[in-house]
Symmetry: C2
Subunit: 179 residues, 2 copies
Amino acid sequence: MKFCPDCGAATERRIPEDDDRERDVCSVCATIHYHNPKVIVGCIPQHNGKILMCKRAIEPRYGLWTLPAGFMENGETTAEGAARETWEEAAAIAEEPVLYRIFDVPHISQVYMFYRCGVQGGKFGVGPESLETELLLPEDIPWDKLAFPVVRELLREYLEDCEEGHFPVRHSVISYGRR
Amino acid sequence: MKFCPDCGAATERRIPEDDDRERDVCSVCATIHYHNPKVIVGCIPQHNGKILMCKRAIEPRYGLWTLPAGFMENGETTAEGAARETWEEAAAIAEEPVLYRIFDVPHISQVYMFYRCGVQGGKFGVGPESLETELLLPEDIPWDKLAFPVVRELLREYLEDCEEGHFPVRHSVISYGRR
């Protein structure tokens, strides 16, 4: 941030009074502009023992496989956001989403919240951010072509939980190296 | 937002190409500025069957009782944020925080994440945002002087779970009226 979104004057990085970390502070109107972590919401859509996955048509990780997920929007719940992303990326209607997995990814200031869900009618398509989408049997998951570490971790645990038939809400911190 | 934080030119509200909702878009550099939900992190600090609560010294809800909680900061985990707030508001060190409760509050674009924790050494004090803090027995909780609906819901469930000795991660949507 270089300019104040409220008045257009230059901002400066400094520690405001009664605070203990640097913020963007307007040099004219003195408004303090905070920046906070973002929430990524997504689904593990399951149908007849297969998982709906998407091959990314966008950077980063173009051409690699992921689960439908993206930035949570203002005014929606985490479940609504996860269902929206499933619709946008895989043209599938998320059925009965249930919160399943939370990851903290502090070095990029993100919190991931993933839902388990069904795929209404088993129907899906290819959204504009996907090259292709597919309902994959566990043995067909392209482990060496996954887009993100959270996706690998999530799928590994999910398949274990499927064998147990038990899906506790899990939470952990992911600390993959800064780039 | 009225001005572009990147270049200082006026922004306009419009739906960018390939999008489906209005954003703040710079009229000069065309940067799209997204606004996303914020995460509130907090603790239910427990010591010898008592809960550490804070009487608010700030608006909103000045003078009403709450649990230590506040906006998650960039670069920290949800657990670190919850512990930081417990330190800032009640000068207590959160011991072994475990994720316990998630609330979606969509009409104010917030997600709450609360941790159960102990109070190291049973020591606490009064942070600058609190008028007073107290370790309260369940029967001494001021139910008619609580600051927020989420605090009421959280305490009610927590006390029930304490009786059961069982603390599943809970998740729900809170839709208290828009003000």
